[in-house]
């Protein structure tokens, strides 16, 4: 089983995470490594010294283990779950299960996939459907077409659901914490997918479809700036119709402690099965030109107005692209 435990060892699916580019040691206290090694007293020495006798009483000790062979550095891991909780093995199974849905149910079509740059990038898309169908489509599409893993950031609420939370995590889902995004983008050059609308996107009703909600507080722009990576906007058409929300029941949602509780058209058609089944709407995804921010990375703060302007501009571009795609769409089901 492959593993990717430490910096030096990574599974092939994770591209060169490597060491951080920003050592925290300040020059004033950076010490010569050789000097440090000389000063350091290893535990073995200490134990030998302690055991070698002050003269009273024989120290009975468990036999010391043989020193480890320095060449045998490979951990004998029992699973391939990586530091983010993603398992390439689970992902492989999920890809195999999901591929027919992707190809034959949603009949996904991409445009502009080549615009996704090498190295780290923050993918930003519009978010829709009561149980969002866009995240798996985007992750599956990019993983199969570009052969790169995609980490999806989502609401922490996911993580609190037994079973679902764990599976979601194994398939590349992470809680949307800025530190997670920064580390993936800045230090590991990965692709990270976020939906800046958050739960406001999937919770909107059918009558509000393709009307983008507020893009949070622009946190995604700030993270991309700090990590020094471009934002790649993606416009998704089709998710809205795959599980349209007819109306919401906020009182029950509050009682259950969930972010929103929709009654979907799927439930009316298929009953309880509607909770887990999508309508076969035709998916079209369009990757827009990456947005590069001309600011230095690793700042503590960035101009709030600049962040909000960029965020608003990206939102406008996705919205405009959606309108264009909708103008050209002849049928919800056939594209």
């Amino acid at each position: 089983m492959e593993q990717d435990d430490s910096d030096s060892k990574q599974s092939p699916s994770n591209q060169t995470p490597g060491t951080p580019r920003t050592p925290t040691a300040t020059p004033a206290i950076r010490l010569d490594a050789a000097e440090l090694l000389n000063q350091e007293i290893t535990l073995e020495e200490a134990l030998n010294h302690a055991g070698s006798g002050a003269g009273h009483g024989e120290l009975v000790q468990l036999p010391q283990e043989e020193p480890r062979n320095p060449d045998a550095l490979d951990d004998r891991r029992r699973s391939d779950v990586n530091e983010w909780g993603r398992s390439e093995h689970m992902r492989e199974i999920a890809r195999r299960v999901y591929d027919p849905i992707y190809k034959h149910w949603f009949r996904v079509e991409w445009e502009g996939l080549e615009k996704i740059p090498e190295g780290g990038a923050l993918l930003v898309a519009n978010h829709a459907a009561a149980i969002p169908s866009d995240a798996p489509v985007i992750m599956h599409g990019i993983e199969t077409k570009l052969n790169r893993p995609v980490y999806g950031l989502a609401d922490n609420f996911f993580r609190t659901i037994p079973v679902v939370g764990t599976i979601w995590n194994r398939l590349g889902g992470l809680p949307a914490h800025p530190d997670n995004a920064y580390r993936l983008l800045r230090e590991q050059d990965q692709l990270v997918l976020v939906f800046p609308e958050g739960t406001k996107g999937p919770s909107k009703t059918y009558s509000e479809r393709y009307q983008l909600r507020r893009f949070g507080r622009g946190g995604f722009v700030e993270i991309a700036m700090r990590a020094g990576v471009p934002v790649v906007p993606i416009a998704v058409v089709g998710a809205e119709e795959s599980m349209p929300t007819l109306f919401r029941v906020p009182s029950i949602a509050r009682a259950l402690g969930v972010p929103y509780l929709p009654v979907t058209a799927n439930m009316l058609v298929a009953g309880p099965l509607g909770l887990v089944s999508y309508f076969p709407s035709k998916f079209k995804l369009k990757v827009l030109d990456p947005v590069h921010f001309d600011v230095p990375a690793d700042r503590d703060r960035y101009s709030r107005s600049r962040v909000m302007d960029e965020s608003e501009a990206i939102r406008d571009r996705i919205q405009a692209a959606l309108y264009t795609m909708l103008r050209e769409r002849r049928s919800v089901w056939f594209g």
């Binding site: 430490s6 950076r30 010294h49 070698s52």
Partner: protein, 374 residues
Amino acid sequence: MPDQPPSPTRLTRRATDALEIDPNGPRRRVLVTGLGTFWGGRVAQALEANPAVEVIVGLDTTEPTVELERTEYVRVDANYSILSRIVRATRVDTIIHTFLVMDPTQMSQRAMHEINVIGTMNLFAAASAASSTVRSVIVKSSTLVYGCAPEDPVWFTESTPRSRPAREPIERSLEAVEGYVRDFAGDNPHVNVALLRFSNVIGAELETPLTRLLQLPVVPSIFGFDPRFQFVHEDDVIKSLLFAFNNDLPGVFNVAGDGLLPWSEVAALCGKRTVALPPVATGFLTSPLRQLGVLDLPEEYEGLLKYGRGVDNHRLKNFGFRYEHTSTEAVEAFIRAVRLRKVVGENEPSYRYERDVEQFFRHSPAVRKDRRQA
């Protein structure tokens, strides 16, 4: 006070006699708290091997459990009321504070509060007294201070704040401890303060709530959750404390092995199956098991069994520290020791502290101290 501390002046003189003088640089005089605990004893043993350390004074409420050659043991009460006298008398320049309780199942909340909070408060009061000679303080804290919540990042860096306020007594007490450390560092800029936060410690000898879980016939987990755990080998803990001591590391450092292991994988490494506990009302539903003493799961570990915790260990590495063990290797070392114990039984050192014997070896003129060894 059942025992009087040894006469400080004599202690200093004899200890100097006992050692070869290192011509380079000043020699350190070190105070170790919690000498009777696993950590204090191991740290003192390691310091004894360092010729640059002139004096080691160890404090504890209980007698040392490991054999020590030249460490002076002073019995104190849990909250160190005589500490400022000891610091003044021995003129120590370094304090290594290992006496912090991390395992809340071992004592009452009140006793833990006395040791962690009041003990630390008195320690720093003594260290910041006007006449204090203390120039370096190393504190052994825990990554428990980061808490455990669904909105946590996968990796906590030293500066990441915790996501939710601390509720459990152990976490609250460690927060108070770290507060004293920060205050002390702020009030005494001439003192080098290193705060090491250790992840889940595991290894051949140490017993913790997690090692107890892993030695049950089946390992408890929480249904539907498979959190990722990080471990640090007990040898790396000692190594990092000495590293901080030798290099006068400044600031806060996470100490944890590389890699995060799913709990199911930890159990598999130990050759155990997991058994799922209910994900809601876990504490309430498992209370019968607690009453029977089958399961001893402190509250903060319930959260850990749901969401796990990872800490970023780069800061210490950037200063040149090298870990001997990854998380996986630490667990493997633990399980190898468990296998051995299963066959040969508890083969622990049968050392018993005898005050008269120890005093004889340290202070009797009959003992020749010219023994030289590497």
